[in-house]
């Protein structure tokens, strides 16, 4: 449900509840009782669930992640005009949905991955507003990046399964699939965001949103 539709529903519910405040006597009739049940039980709970679901969905958007000041360099790194930058290459070539770029790579594709990602988000909020946020270049992942997140899309893809480097050694591909050989920290795809280490020669792609 689009945000404006939920806002209209919420305001409509508030107006109906206002009728009960102004004229509580209408609840004496059967129709009034039904109205009271609707506006004081069903509609508020429905509006709350719809609003929370909308916010949860919004929290997966790239714009949401980048709305924190501390994340700005990470957003900028998506526009680096250099295909060796993993995040930029994925974002600019739509290997990940551009409007959910952060979430697509940084969620955990396990059973409670989405839930854990949301809890992580709450922790970020706590640190951002009540704690001492680190400098953008000092931000570290809570745990090493799991190949599972890459393989969620790349597993079975021809470029991955039959790639020359992946097949140069017969042990490489099984090791990647078993997460024994990291995609991003074993010297293969280790240039990801590299915030704080761009240097002066880095160029930025002007396209995209």
């Amino acid at each position: 449900m689009p945000t404006f539709a939920i806002v209209i529903l919420v305001l409509f519910s508030a107006v109906l509840a206002g009728i009960v405040v102004v004229r509580p006597a209408i609840t004496a009739s059967r129709a009034g009782k039904i109205l009271a049940f609707g506006v004081l039980f069903f509609l508020p709970l429905f509006s709350l669930v719809a609003g929370m679901q909308n916010e949860m969905q919004r929290s997966e958007s790239t714009a949401f992640c980048l709305s924190c000041h501390i994340m700005e360099p990470y957003g900028k790194s998506l526009h680096i005009d250099d295909p060796s930058y993993l995040a930029a290459a994925h974002y600019q070539n739509h290997r990940v949905p551009a409007d959910e770029a952060c979430y697509t790579c940084h969620t955990d594709y396990a059973m409670f991955g989405t839930f854990e990602a949301k809890l992580g988000g709450l922790r970020h909020l706590y640190i951002y507003y009540l704690g001492k946020p680190p400098l953008p270049q000092d931000i570290k992942l809570y745990k090493p990046f799991n190949n599972r997140e890459c393989l969620h899309c790349h597993l079975g893809a021809r470029s991955f399964e039959q790639g020359a480097t992946h097949n140069a050694d017969p042990a490489t591909l099984p090791a990647i699939k078993a997460n024994a050989l990291s995609c991003i920290s074993s010297g293969c795809h280790d240039v990801v965001h590299n915030v704080g280490r761009w240097g002066d020669k880095v160029k930025f792609w002007e396209g995209g949103s």
Binding site: V21, T27, F41, M52, M56, F64, L125
Partner: protein, 76 residues
């Protein structure tokens, strides 16, 4: 039901909680900051929840009308 009835007062209080919660929710939905979600759940959700619970409480513990003409009528 007169506005001064205990039931009317309870419905009003419940509706005021719900309305306040709904306005907080509406503001959070148009406020595009990460903290909006926390405000929506912690303040908006709490106010709406209180309103709904108070409404249910008022229904469960509503006192029957002793002046109800149908109840007051003698058996035939």
């Amino acid at each position: 039901m007169r506005p001064s009835d205990p039931m009317s007062r309870k419905l009003r209080v419940s509706a005021i909680f719900v309305i306040t919660g709904l306005f907080v929710e509406a503001l959070c939905l148009v406020w595009s900051k990460p903290i909006a979600f926390v405000v929506l759940v912690c303040i908006g959700g709490a106010l709406i929840g209180l309103g709904v619970l108070f409404f249910l409480y008022s229904l469960v513990f509503a006192t029957p009308h002793t002046t109800d003409p149908y109840r007051a009528a003698p058996d035939k």
